[in-house]
Each structure stands twice: as C-alpha cells, then as structure tokens.
Symmetry: C4
Subunit: 493 residues, 4 copies
Amino acid sequence: MSNVLTGPQVSEHNSRDSCWIIVHGKVYDVTEFLDEHPGGSRIILKYAGADATEAYEPIHPPDAITTNLPVEKHLGVIDASTVAQVVKEVTEEEKQRQLAVAARPPLENVLNMHDFEVIAKAVIPEKAWAYYSSASDDEITIRENRTAVWFRPRILRDVSTVDWSTTILGQKSSLPLYISATALGKLGHPEGELTITRGAANHGVIQMIATLASCSFDDIIDAQSNNQTFFVQLYVNRDREITKRYVQHAEARGVKGLFITVDAPQLGRREKDMRMKQVDDSAGAEVQKGQDVKKDQGVARAISSFIDPSLSWKDIPWFRSITKMPIILKGIATAEDAILAYEAGVQGIVLSNHGGRQLDTARSGLEVLVEVVAALKARGYYPDPKFEIFVDGGVRRASDVLKAIALGAKAVGVGRAFLYAFCAYGQEGVERAIQIFRDEFEMNMRLLGARTIDDLCPEMVDAGALGQHIVTVPQDNLFNSTYQPLQITKLKL
Amino acid sequence: MSNVLTGPQVSEHNSRDSCWIIVHGKVYDVTEFLDEHPGGSRIILKYAGADATEAYEPIHPPDAITTNLPVEKHLGVIDASTVAQVVKEVTEEEKQRQLAVAARPPLENVLNMHDFEVIAKAVIPEKAWAYYSSASDDEITIRENRTAVWFRPRILRDVSTVDWSTTILGQKSSLPLYISATALGKLGHPEGELTITRGAANHGVIQMIATLASCSFDDIIDAQSNNQTFFVQLYVNRDREITKRYVQHAEARGVKGLFITVDAPQLGRREKDMRMKQVDDSAGAEVQKGQDVKKDQGVARAISSFIDPSLSWKDIPWFRSITKMPIILKGIATAEDAILAYEAGVQGIVLSNHGGRQLDTARSGLEVLVEVVAALKARGYYPDPKFEIFVDGGVRRASDVLKAIALGAKAVGVGRAFLYAFCAYGQEGVERAIQIFRDEFEMNMRLLGARTIDDLCPEMVDAGALGQHIVTVPQDNLFNSTYQPLQITKLKL
Amino acid sequence: MSNVLTGPQVSEHNSRDSCWIIVHGKVYDVTEFLDEHPGGSRIILKYAGADATEAYEPIHPPDAITTNLPVEKHLGVIDASTVAQVVKEVTEEEKQRQLAVAARPPLENVLNMHDFEVIAKAVIPEKAWAYYSSASDDEITIRENRTAVWFRPRILRDVSTVDWSTTILGQKSSLPLYISATALGKLGHPEGELTITRGAANHGVIQMIATLASCSFDDIIDAQSNNQTFFVQLYVNRDREITKRYVQHAEARGVKGLFITVDAPQLGRREKDMRMKQVDDSAGAEVQKGQDVKKDQGVARAISSFIDPSLSWKDIPWFRSITKMPIILKGIATAEDAILAYEAGVQGIVLSNHGGRQLDTARSGLEVLVEVVAALKARGYYPDPKFEIFVDGGVRRASDVLKAIALGAKAVGVGRAFLYAFCAYGQEGVERAIQIFRDEFEMNMRLLGARTIDDLCPEMVDAGALGQHIVTVPQDNLFNSTYQPLQITKLKL
Amino acid sequence: MSNVLTGPQVSEHNSRDSCWIIVHGKVYDVTEFLDEHPGGSRIILKYAGADATEAYEPIHPPDAITTNLPVEKHLGVIDASTVAQVVKEVTEEEKQRQLAVAARPPLENVLNMHDFEVIAKAVIPEKAWAYYSSASDDEITIRENRTAVWFRPRILRDVSTVDWSTTILGQKSSLPLYISATALGKLGHPEGELTITRGAANHGVIQMIATLASCSFDDIIDAQSNNQTFFVQLYVNRDREITKRYVQHAEARGVKGLFITVDAPQLGRREKDMRMKQVDDSAGAEVQKGQDVKKDQGVARAISSFIDPSLSWKDIPWFRSITKMPIILKGIATAEDAILAYEAGVQGIVLSNHGGRQLDTARSGLEVLVEVVAALKARGYYPDPKFEIFVDGGVRRASDVLKAIALGAKAVGVGRAFLYAFCAYGQEGVERAIQIFRDEFEMNMRLLGARTIDDLCPEMVDAGALGQHIVTVPQDNLFNSTYQPLQITKLKL
C-alpha cells in the first residue's frame, strides 16, 4: 500500500466499468464489488473517481472496506494535495439543524431521558433520526416496552443512606445498569461512541461496545480511563475467522464480557428507515420498473449482510473454545430458550426484543423476565451466582430499572437513552444522563424503602398485569360523534 | 338474437311505458323488469333508449342481464354506427382522480399493504371506495379483526434458508395464503380481477374467483398461465339450476375448490355505501316522501337479491352430488357450526366475519380459530388431512398469517389488500404485494426461528388476550380537561 | 272559574307582593306560591301580571298548576281580546334553529338513530338539548351503557322468513321493544309526545306514557288509533291520593301496564342541564351572594319536587290494591332487588340506570341483566310466564335489542332514540325510526340464524367481558410526545 | 433582638461576603447560611441588603428562618421608615392574572371540584400552579387515583331523610371527610390556610394543619371558632427536639390527632415544579457548566431538607411517649405495613400515595384499601373501634368518598380540591365546596339506598376491576391512518 496516487488518476475511474474511490486517504478499486455492495451500487457510483469518506464513515464499521475488498484492490494512498476540494453547499436542512444546535436549552434544564430525545431529534440529520428511532413493522413492540408494573413501597425504614451500586458479571458498577450497544453513533454526533467512553469513565459505568460502532473498537479501548470496564456486543460473521479474531482481540484488550446477539439472523424491516432511504434515492435518479430492489432496504439492512443466519446452539461450544470471557446471549425471548441457554453453560442472558427493532409483536423484556425467572426457579437453576439475567428495552427512568431488578434481573441495559444524550450534548449529555439516573435512583430507593440493591424483592412490585395484551373494543364512532363531552366552567374573558 | 337494431329505433323506447337499453352491443327490453331491478328503476330509466353499458359494467356480473331477462326480451344487436356518441364531460372528481393517478409514488416506495390502501383511496372513484371500504353497522367488527396475538420467537436455530411454501387443498402454493374473492373489481380498475389472475400466475399464488366478479368467469380462466390454480366462491342462487350450471362449469374448467359462502343469506347494511348511493340519487331527482325505499340500499344490496336465504345444512348433500371439487364452507363463526361442517363431510371451512361486512360485532376469525381448533381436537376431528381450516379478515402483514397458522389454520385468505393493490397499480401492484409478503415471510420466519411452515406451532404465539373484548371505563372528561399533561423540554427557537 | 278577567286587571298584579299570571287562558294568583316554586320565584316574577303560558307549557305537566294551587287561587278566565299581544322578537339562536330546520336532510337519508340525534341537536332549543342529553355527575354511566357483547352467529339455517314480533305483558308488539317514557317532549317539538302516539299506532308499537309528559295523559289516550297499546310510567307523589287517582284513571282508560319508577327518590344532578339554567338566569339579574340556590338546579330538579323519597317495599301491596294492571318496577340495579321484586309479586322489572341520569357509575342494564337472570334462575324464579324482565338504556341498534333478549330479557325499552326522532322530524321521524329498526331486525336475525325471537339464546352472544370495568393505565405523556407515529405513504400532490 | 437597625445599614451588606436580609421586619445575617440554603444561594443574594419578606413568605414555614439561623445571626429589628420603598412593577403575567380574577364566574356557577381547579389555574401565579399541580416523574400515579369502582344501588328504601355525618377519631364531623394538609397556601391566596379554618368552622368540618403551612400554626389555631376540630400533619425533623416541641405544642393547643407522614423521607422529583424553577432562574443569570445543581430542584425539594430520612418503626414508641394524641401513620401503601402499623399500636392509618407526588407508579389509596381491609380482617384486627383506616388521593365527588367508606374506610381526606377552592374564591370557595359535597352526599346516598353512613357496605360497590393495571396494546397507527371513521349525517348548512 505504499503506492501513491493522485486525484486526476483516480478521477479517470469514474464509471461502472472502472470505479475507484477514496476512503480515509486510501484508494480502492471497487468495480467488481459494485454489485455486491449491500447498499446497492448507485450510492457508490455517486462517488466514483472521488473521495467517499464522508458518506462512508458514519454508516460503516471503520474496517468494512479493508475486510470486504481483496488486498489487490487496495491500490495505494492518495496525495491529498492533488484532490480538488469540493465546496460543500450547506443545505437548508443543515442550516435548520445548526439553528437547533444553538437553541438547545442549557444542559441542566434537561430533566429526564425524554428531553434528550427531543433535543437529539432536532439536532441530528433526518437520516440519523430515521435510523435511530425506527423499529420493525407496525412498531407495536417498541411501544409495548412501556409496561405497567406498579410499586408496593415500604415505609418507616431508615433510608438516610441508600446505595444503588452493584456488580455486573463480577465487575463493579456504580449504577445497576450498563450502557448497551447501539450502532452508527457518528450519524448523530461527530465523536460517536467515544462520548460514551469518556462520560462513562468519569462515573464508573460500564459500556458495551457494538460490532457496528462507528468508532473503531481500538479507538474506544484506547480512550479508556479510570480503569473503566467494557463489554462487547457481537454480530457473528459468516466467516468465523473474522469473528474469532474480533473476539480474541477484544479479550486481549481487556473486555470483560461477550454479548452474542442471537435475535438478529437478519436485521428487521424498519419502515421509517426504509422511507428515509427512498428520499435519498429519489433525489438521485428516476425510478424504473424492475430495478434492483436492494436500494429500499434502509441503513439497517445495508450494513448487516455479513451476519450469519445459520448461527445455532451448536456454535456455543466453539465460542467457549475461543475465549475465557463470560459469554452472554443477547436476545432471549422465551423461557424455553432461557433454559437451553443455562444448560448450554453460558454466563448470562439478556431478555430483549432488540429495542422493538426486530420481530414486531414480540413481547417486552420485562414480561419475558417474569416467565423466565419462574421457569428457571422451577428447575433449581436460579438464582445461581454463575448465571446472570439482564433485561433491556424502553428504559427511561430509574424506576424502570428497579422494577426489573425486583423481578429478578441483575442489571438492565440502556441503549437509546444514552445515544440520544450524546447526540444532543456529546460527552456532557452522557454525564448528565448518568446524573439524572443517580438522582432518580436515590429518590426511588428511598421511597421504596430499599437501602441497597439487595433489598429489592418481588413483593415490592405488582406485575400482575404484565402479560395482559389487551386490545380494547374498537371505538363506537357514531356514538362518540354525537355524545357531547361535559364542559368545565368558563371564565368570562 | 341475429336481429340488428339501430340507435333511432332504440331511442324511441325511452320511458317507463317502453324502456329499451343497450348493454355490450345488444338491445334489451327491460320495461317489465323495471320494478324488479334490485337497484331501483330510476337508475335504469336514466339510460332508457340509450347505451347503459358503462354504468352496467362495473357493478353487475357480466351475465346478469341475460340471466335475469327472459329470452324474448333479448331484442337483437345494435348497429354501433347508428348510435349517437355521447360526449362525456369529465367531472371535477374525475379530474382530481387523474391528478392522483399521476401523483402515485413509484411502486417500489410502497412498503406495506396500508400504502396500497392510501393510494387506492386517492385514485378510485368515491363510489368504489365507499363500496370497497364499507362494513356493517358501526363497523366494530371490521376493526376487531386487528387482534393482539404476540410472538414467542425462538433463537439459535439455523435459519439460513427458510421456506414458506405450502399446499392448500392439495394444491401447491408459494405463499401460505390465497387471494380471496372480492366483488366488482372494475369499479376500481378497468381490468378488474384479471390483474390478479395475471399477477398471481407469475408467482404461484392461488386466486379465488368471486361469483360477483366484474370480469366474467371464463375471461378469468382464459387468462390462466403457468398452470395456475383457481378456487371459486359461490353465492347460492334461489334458482338451483343456475347454481348447478355455474358449479359444474367451474369444475369443467379446472377449478380446484368450491368455497360456498354461508354467512350472507342477505348482504349487510353498510352505511358508507348507503350514504354514497344517496349522493348519487339526490343529484338525479328531488326526494319524495313515501318513495321506493330500495334506492338507499347501496351497491351491496342492489347486486345481491338473487342470493338464497333458505340455504341450509340440508343442501350440502346436493352440492356433494353435483361436483367432485372439494367443498369448503366460507363464513363459519362458532365451534358448533365447525363441528356440524366436519360431520357434514365437507373438506374445509373458512373462519370469517366476511371482512366485517355482514353481522357487526361478530368476532374475528382468529378468535374463532382458537375456539374451533380446541373443539375439533376435543372430538378427535382435528388434525385431519382431509379437513382444512382457513381464516380470513384484516390480514395486512405476513405476521398476521403466521399467527393464524401457528394457531392451527392451514392458510389464510387475503382479499382487500390485493384489491387495493390492483386498484392502485394494476397487475404490478398485485406482484408488488406478493413481493412484500414474501419479504415479510422471510424476515418473520427467520426471527421466529421457523424454517418451514411445519415449524409453526401454538407455543410460538401468546394468544391469551384474544377473547377479551374489553370496553374501558368511559373517560372522565372533567378530570381530563383540568389535568395538564407533562410537557417535554422546549428548544429556544 | 266562570269569572272573566281582563288584561289590565291582571297586569296590576305584577310584583312579589301581588303576583297574578295567565296560563292556558286562565288567571292564577301565585303570590303565596312564589317561594314554594321548585324552579325559584324569579322565573315566575318575569311573567308577573302577564301571560306565562309559553314558558310554562313545555316544562310542566299540563295539570301542574291546578294540582299545586288551592282552588281559591284559580281566579277565572281571561278575556283574550283584552291582553296586549307581545311582539316576540326572534332571537339569533332561534333564527339559527330555523335555518337548521330548513337544512335537515331528506328523511330517507337518515340511516340510524345517531342521525336523528345529530339533527335534533341542531333543530331544538339549546335548553331542550341540555335537558334531554344531560346525565348525572361525570356522565360515566350514560356512556357505560355502550357495552361490548359480541355475537356468535349460526349459519345454514333457512332464514327466508324471519319474524321479530313478540308479546310484552301479554300485549302484541310488532317489535321486541317498547317506546319508553321521556319527559317534556314539547321542549323539542310543539306536538310533543303525540308524535309518538300517532307514529306508534301505525306500526303496532307500544308507547309508555310519562308522568312528566308535556302532553296531557288524556290528550295522548284520545289520540289512540288501531287499538294501540299503552303503558304508563309513574313517579309516585308524596300525596298518595293524587297517585291513586292517576293510576286508576290510567287503568280506566285502558292502559295495560304500570311501570313504577323506583330509582328516582330525587332526580339526579345533571350538570349540563344545570349550566344551561345558569345561562338563562344570568341574563335576568345579577347574581348575589347567599341568594336562593334552588335556581341552579336545572330543569330536571325543578319539575320533580313532588316525587316521594319515602317510597319503599312496604308500598307495593297498596299499589296492588288500587289496580289490576300489571305492575312493573322500573330501575332495578342489583340481583338482590330483583329477587325482592319477584317475591313481592310484581309482574316485571326494568333493569335500568335511568339512561345514566340518576346515580353516576351505576352499571348498565345489560350488565345487571346477566347477574339478575343468573340469580333468579338459581332460585327457580325464572323463567316464569308471569314475570317479565326488561332492560333499557343506550339502545341505538336492533343488535342491542337482540343481545338483551338473547341474555334473557323479554323486550327492551327505547326512549331517547325516539325522542330525538320526533324532535328532528315529528311523527314521520318516529315512523322512520321504526322502519330502520325493522330493517335492522330483519338483517340481524338472518345473519344470526334466528328465525323467531324464541330462537335467541345465550349461546348466540359472548358476554364474557360485560363485567370488566377496566381503567387503563394513564398515558405516558412524555413517551407519547417523543414517539413519532409511523406515517403512511404520501402522494406527490 | 431589641437592636434597631436602619435601611442604609442593612444595604451595605449586599454581597456574598456579607449578606444581610430583612424578613418580617427583622434583620438577619445569612452570610454563612448562603451555601446551606436548600433553595440555593442565588435566590437569597437577589435580596442581599434588602427586604426579602415577599419572596420568603409563601414558600417558607413562618419560623423557618428563626429555627435555622443561630440566635447570634438575629441582628435586630428594622426601622421601617428608613427602608426605601421599592416601586413594584406589575408584570404582564400579573396583569393577566388580575383580569382573570375579575372574570371569575359567580360562585354559584361552580358546580363541582373541577370548576375550582380551572379557576384556580387562571387566577394564581404560574409558579403556584406548578407547585400545586405537579406530581412525580411521569405523573402516572396522580392520574391512577381516578379509579373504577362501580355502584350497586338498592331501591325502595325509605330515603326521605339521609344522614352523612360521622365521627373521625372520636370527633364529630358533619361530612365523612376531613380537609387534608397541603403546603404553601399563600402561594395561591394571600390569606392561605386561614380561609380553610374559617370556612370549615362554619360547617363542622375538620381541618388538618400542615407542617409546611404558610400560615403559622398558632395563627390557624387562634382563628378557631365554633369549637372546631383540628388535626395536625407532621414531617419529622432530623432534630427530634424541634419535632417534640411542635407535637407537644399542638396537643397543648387542643389538636385531636397527629398524622405522621411516613411516605416522604425525601420529597419527590416533580418535573412541572422543577421546570418552573428553571424559568425563574434563567431570567436571573446565564447558566454555566458545573454550577450548583441544587437550583433546579423546584419548590418542593427546596423547602423539605429538614425531613428526616432515617425515620423508622423504632421511632413509634418515642412518639407514643411524647403525646396522648391519637397517632395516625399517613402514607401506608401495602397490607404488610398496615399490619405493622396495627401491631405498633397506632390509632389509624392513611392509605395514600401522597396525591401522586412521591413515588410514581405507586397504587391508588382505594386499591390499597381493598388489600389492607382483607389482610387486617384475616388477622382479626379489623374492624376495631380503636383503629381507623383513612384514604386520600384524587377525591373530586361525594361518590368517591362513599365508595371508600363502603369498602371499609372510616373517612376520606380531601386536599387539593379545597386548596383550589380557596385559591379561586378564598373562604367562600371553601364553603361552596362543602356545600357541593353536601348536595352530592344527599343525592348519592338517596340513590344508593343508604340512609346513614352505617348503611354503606361492600355489596354496594363492584370493585372487581380495582387491581387491573391494564396497558392496552399500542395503537396500530398505519391501520388507524387508513381506516376512515363512520360519519354521521350532515345538515345542508
């Protein structure tokens, strides 16, 4: 790769017949790769003979191109001085976005996780919002994650000091939650997942690094401070050697837990994301009948074709053979599979519906938790110090976390809330989010009468309604149209 | 019928005393039929002495006039050159409709069945929309068809290949669904049901031909290609000879299943449809007290007076005697009748509320399915390779289909989704709908951990809430008026 | 009363010290009655020395003044020619009302009972609407009357003819419902309850005459035709002699059933009605602290002070002793009281919450029906040909009636639907309402597979959810504010 | 404290280095207290060297400053004539508020408790509304207080006289409710809690005095008339001597019951209140990173730092030792704690979620009541004449009260309804509220068939749905977007 190329050399290769692009200062021949590109050839051809870094960066793992392209297509480095600088026009959307950035309220005015989401939506590109916020099909499951467990608080216990710290997979954690993996952080903030790394380090919170993080794995680990703890999330590659290298590299760099995603043999159809992709496309060219349909698949599917749908229980021993890290299966959704996981000898499971982004009308992690704990207890499998249960999905409040723990979870994963926090305010947003959680933990534990995490118990919650998926009788529109609601009194203003 | 008549000859018979009309190039004397016309005499008199084909075509079975009128009233053929061409004025509604046709998004932007409905609504005449979309009474049942069954997905099964093909009544089907019968397709698209025939042929999907199709039965069969399979839906005529001829003709032409509609001794009161009819009428003449009330019955009732309300279990052996086709009863709504059907020796049943268009507050097919499967199993009647259970109503997603199959159905009927697809885009719409279903089946089966249709089982769904017809306590309007909802943070824009 | 007085004579008595008024051509001295008037003195003083008929008529039983005022205060008849004619100014509200009357759709366009209500609301005075439509407290119960019983229809029964006629208390009825008593019909239509009498006579439907009808009892009976049947509703007077005379007069005039209202020892607080009364008042005079509070009680309470709150089970034998008419207790709300009623030897009960106008959060008649039938059956009291159970409240559709009958009711009372029908279109509205019900009965019985009323049985309905008074968990406003609903596709218009 | 100081002397001490303020005519050196002030130093510094009374008064207990500041910091009295009078500018908000005061409807037009709330909202400062109306977190619990218990009314009982008076802790009460403690009344009305004292005295209703009342305890007791009864609510101070003095003083002044708040070791995060505080602050100074976070805590937390979070069951005997007043624990939320309370020998409990202001998703008092009564009965603890159960939260109607009593409560606490009543109309509002309750009690008891409070029994209510915390399945937005609701008929206007 010591070969040095110039802009004019590259720009000659600007067609489907010969297509070179520049990414991160290096030149690649992607001609033969065009038809294999999960995101379709059109998006690459837009940058044929030119620098594609800006489009490439936020939606690819940093090493995607080097991994997918044979070495002989790595043509050399570009002489930057020879590349014509493109004057980028600031779009109207971008101007609005920058106004919104300036209009953000002071950070201390952010009172809860929802506030971050509101601000993030205003300050990130529409495409990022579509990708982050989308869920599968009718987005039933993502909303079902808001469940109705009620508290049964105890009174007259001395709660002058309350302590919500815990351990997760044997690692100290200042909060009974970890920051779960979310992909493509740079779509929403130029520093991406590093904002979490730096913020979490200051508060003793554990970060789970995503396979599809937009910062490279090593950049994140390199930013480690305060001896902070990392977990890693794994999408298993069709090429197990790549997976093996990734896992062993993670272990070598000190990662303390391997969370294997098992609910995503294929990434879900997320229509918000798919519609946004169409907007992009329709700007480029008129649509023709019979055209390649891959282009309407959205960001999610474009980046995930490497995931192996053949992954099965038979692979677990192999994982056990390549690493000493605790192995956790992320995405368990039934008691049956929780039992299989326990019997397969893994160290934990995450009950999850993937934030509502995979199978729509899958149940919430909290509902599954009740079923799983009962089934494991019935078999004498739980509690077991060597097997931890986690839950994720829809957490917005410390109270959500405390309910899961009371029902038997060890800790809870929080993903999107932190994603929106850094999109809105970078590292400081992450720290403010942690501070709000801390404040809420203190308040809620006092009001619950729980002095430590160990005080949380099933009797502190009423989860009786968790499994009731009620659809109410459809509205009687004619009756409702004629019924005139009662009016409150009016002032004579 | 070799008699040739001229326009001027016909136009002399333009009154209630002598009323001739031209339909499909032939002349009929309908004077004595005026008072028997289910749609009222007024609409016929509008075309007295003139060509009524355009009004006749989309809302009558092609042979309605020849069947209903004695042969001596078939006066002859018209000499087309002698008929004055009416310059048709393009109405404002029609102009809007044509603008909408031009404004349709590219077909690939259609992501789900709902999109078709939105577009169909914009591009078809209001009258067609009223007829297609209407349901009975308060339209409770049509919405109840949206039910709440949840998935219990299994993980870590090798789902690199998934196969959702199946057989229906012994016929191969590339999808576990068939395109169910809907009436009067030409109201919404000039090619009517033929768009389905052509689209289905390209993808191995089975079409059920409706008695009230606007294309003639033979035109549809003649369009057959790729050895495609047809079923036929039957409204039983008061004149059983007509029914016998229809059934035996269908069998002779290779139809593979006879679906006898048993939930429509009379077609329902559908108020959207009835109101639309009024709009038509009120344009025509002032309304007078005591006038013939038939005119406010809507399209549905106008076309259905031939249906025999005396049809009963006693007729089943007769059907068995006239055909070797499998006989399926369409419109079963209770376990009791499912048992009677099994004991009557038919080959299958369709659990259905007729798309919400017949008895309002009838239950959804999915809810009835659970009751029926349990009752048949309790008697040792099910499973039985010679008896298949189908469900229809409200299907919009592959996930709806998979839930029904998991609960015991062999396949699912989908009617309106395909109707809207061809209204919006003709044959290409039908093919796009099939493609979307296919994409969703692949996704959902992978995420469910089901490699084939046989893997679907009751444990994959949580149907516990299906029978709960909850009406919530009426809103407390005063409290709600005074309670001020929490506000999210605001940007200073 | 042969004394003849002149306008000028009367107009001298126009103050609180001496207050004469003219009603229906007769002169009364109401000076001493001012403070006893249930509606407050102010409204009377507005007409002191003048003709009060127009204000009096629609809200008083016709004989209210003669009954309540001692004979010596009946001063004589007025010489009409001596009374100055007041030129009545047409108010803006009245002008709007008259425009609305002219804008009513043709009667045949009315498709259901809700349509009548919409039109009635537009064409009657606001005060009438407030009185008719109001219910008690938070108006929870009036809406709870809309319940969720589902049908289990049977198929393949010969329904070529269906018959929905029945008997009620031994009287033939062409429909399985009777027109229940509603008060003060002239508020909404100048002919008041007589419109029902005439319309019902033409169709064999039974009318229940209200104690508080605005037409006099005898005027209604005098309008009898076709040998039509009447029932009478009774509010029991503190003065039992008045009640006795009323009951025996009714029997003498051929009334076939005595419905004693037992759920109204006092008429409910109905805030819509109360607020409307305030509007009236505030136009009249400024409000002063400590003023008589009676004036804010609304029409309902103003007209009902004669009702005896001491009425109890001990009174039943007395009623039995004064009449041979069947006695029915109207307003039973629990199984316990149904049992007491049966044991008290009455001929029937009406399960009712008084149209939601009495005790708010009382249950619906249909819910009580299930409880009552079960309790009576358990004691062997029911079925009993000498004891009939009726239900009323919220009926808008034939399907509502059929559900009640399937669950054990003999017939159903329908009040407000007919009230709105005659408010909107007079007698013709009543007849159209009957026609719509008839049409719906035919349709629904065919689709249910019920050939006669006797075919209706509990297995034809699913009433499992009737008793579930679900309040859903309050909305999560922050989550809902941030969640962005999925959007359907857009046309490029 | 006989030292007399002048305005100029005080105004020299106007900085963080030396900060004197005037409160209620006395001068205090608060320099060293600045950093300890629960509301932050900034708000004090705003008044450094000046008179802070107006800001101090409505949000501090009257003796807060003397209690918290060492005696040596009490510098002396101010010579009022030497203080420059500040011309207070009337803000736009204040002008609007005064217009609203003038636009209030006449008191008699207020028909229910909601009306008071509407008016209060319009006539009190926004900050007061934020403090009064706010509840914790997502404000789920405050709305859950609206529950669904239904009546089962009995008929044909002689209800000519009904009596709803009762005793509470042995004290006569004209209503089966007491006016519960709410804090900081002067924020909403200049006379604060004294309006309640005076109004309650006229009608034999018991007032509970709040620890955080804005009128001093003695001012309230001094206003006693008609030998009226008081209870007192207690927040227990970290300094038990202060608490002891407060309790013993209350007993000495004749208070008849001590209600110890046990559900507030810390006051809740109430976001409406917190956001309002931010508005205040942001007017004052730009916000800087890392600044003291205490300032965003809202009024609630600013005033409550003295509350002792270590309060526990061990403290109960000490309370017993310092007073003979009945001791009631206010804020019990589970059967377990109700049993502990009974066994601890207290005289009563209040089942409460603190008006939804403490732990969000805690259950309603009414729901807890059913659980508690069942548990106490099972142990033979209840009924017991020496142990009374109360409920509070969300009461707006007499019917709410009657339901609680039917289910086993002795009486019910009503706080906010009276708070809003006096905010809207002062003492007269309180009296009107009592009158409305009285009117509703009469009506409801008659319609229930309950002649006295003792007639109320569990069979009069249907509370079966109380514990069902149903979350309905999330809306299907696409289906709902495409489904076109039925339309009622239109007038041709």
